[in-house]
């Protein structure tokens, strides 16, 4: 690993200022589970590392019935998994986050870091897209909010612009009843990255047709995320054999 300067800003504004100042040579670190591997492999060699770990409230999760779920980018996967509101109102997210890697990595990796890495092999993206999540990004110049699915561009490529920090993920409260599933296909070890991850949401009237399962699968209400790309699929013929049983209704 190269030598670098290390900063721990105490506010998002400060962090943005650091990013601005060290434009090309700085990297943000949150959980570090991906960044440090790349740095150890000398694939990334930043001269400045800005840690977001000491920004007060940057890991908070809050829920409001009208506003939905607001997850600050510094929340760790395990914080989300263990959050009572997530468990109660967003069972799909609970099921997804409890399956991310294993507890040690969930204790470290943050949702913001995960999304910004743009790694299609990881689990949260698909479920959050399926739940209509939107994200807020900020820089010292501007703040913007966009749907998560627009954020993902390609393998390891996102719409994150220079100087920007992902600060929040908002997930609207889903309509009830809600049918949902998240599965990932692990051909080798249970610890592997998924070959395919599928998140599926059925809302409102689509649920009534659930018994006509094939029809339900073609319903425009179904959304999913898929390996290597992040499409919000309107129809998913490839799933006709591997679809999970939609048994979870809340």
């Amino acid at each position: 690993m190269v030598k670098f300067d290390y900063f721990e800003p105490k506010s998002v504004e400060q962090a943005c200022a650091f990013l601005e100042r060290h434009a090309d040579e700085a990297k943000l670190i949150a959980g570090g589970t991906a960044l440090l591997i790349w740095m150890r492999m000398m694939l990334l060699n930043p001269h400045v590392v800005v840690s977001l770990a000491r920004i007060p409230g940057f890991d908070s999760i809050s829920f409001d019935p009208k506003d939905g779920l607001r997850i600050k980018a510094g929340a760790r996967h395990r914080d989300i998994e263990l959050d009572p509101a997530v468990r109660e109102h967003y069972p799909l997210l609970y099921e997804t986050f409890r399956k991310v890697a294993q507890p040690r990595i969930r204790n470290m990796g943050t949702i913001g870091g995960n999304l910004c890495q743009g790694d299609p092999l990881t689990d949260p993206g698909a479920s959050l897209i399926a739940m209509d999540a939107e994200i807020t990004l900020t820089s010292s110049k501007a703040k913007r909010t966009l749907p998560l699915e627009k954020f993902f561009v390609d393998y390891y490529q996102t719409d994150l612009r220079p100087g920007e920090i992902l600060i929040e993920i908002r997930v609207p409260l889903p309509a009830r009843p809600l049918g949902w599933a998240h599965i990932k296909f692990l051909p080798r070890s249970q610890e592997d990255f998924a070959t395919v991850g599928v998140a599926l949401v059925l809302r409102g009237n689509a649920l009534g047709k659930r018994r006509r399962s094939c029809a339900a699968k073609r319903s425009p209400m179904i959304e999913s995320g898929r390996w290597r790309r992040w499409p919000r699929m309107k129809s998913i013929p490839w799933m006709t054999t591997a679809a999970p049983p939609i048994t979870n209704v809340t």
Partner: protein, 183 residues
Amino acid sequence: MKRKITLTVNGKEQELEIEPNRLLLHVLREEIGLTGTKEGCSIGVCGACSVIVDGRLVSSCLTLAAGCEGRDIETIEGLAKDGNLHPLQQAFIEYGGFQCGICTPGQIMAAKALLDENPKPTADEVKEWMSGNLCRCTGYYKILESVMAVVNNKISPDFQFRKREQQAKIQSLDVYKPVAKTD
């Protein structure tokens, strides 16, 4: 540019000056001399470097030491108190939860983090929790058995490692007279 940091490691404060690119794993091993924490894969997969930071189980190979300023770190060396093994350590011996032992500090720290959070996990919960700690020797059956032995309180109450005598009387040599004894 080196930074000064203070870590609390197994209850003891440690003041260190380190480069920001140093990993917690290497600082524990090389600066503090706690070599119980092992490096296996260097990429957070195998869990041999598992330690507990502020109550959370983490991979010390993916943790910058600089980010641990002021944090409380537990390593395998902090588990046994006054030569008395932690119940998990005892269970791993009694139930054969290791062979070569290189993954064992990580396995035990992972199990400790679980039991701290959930003292009565089911076997499936243990499996799910521990699955990120790889072992190439045991096939895991005895690791699971060891952890479940602690959960189900099946470790011996009067465990003494290899019956070591703590207060052996050393026979004086100059008064030694060989004779047969009787019961």
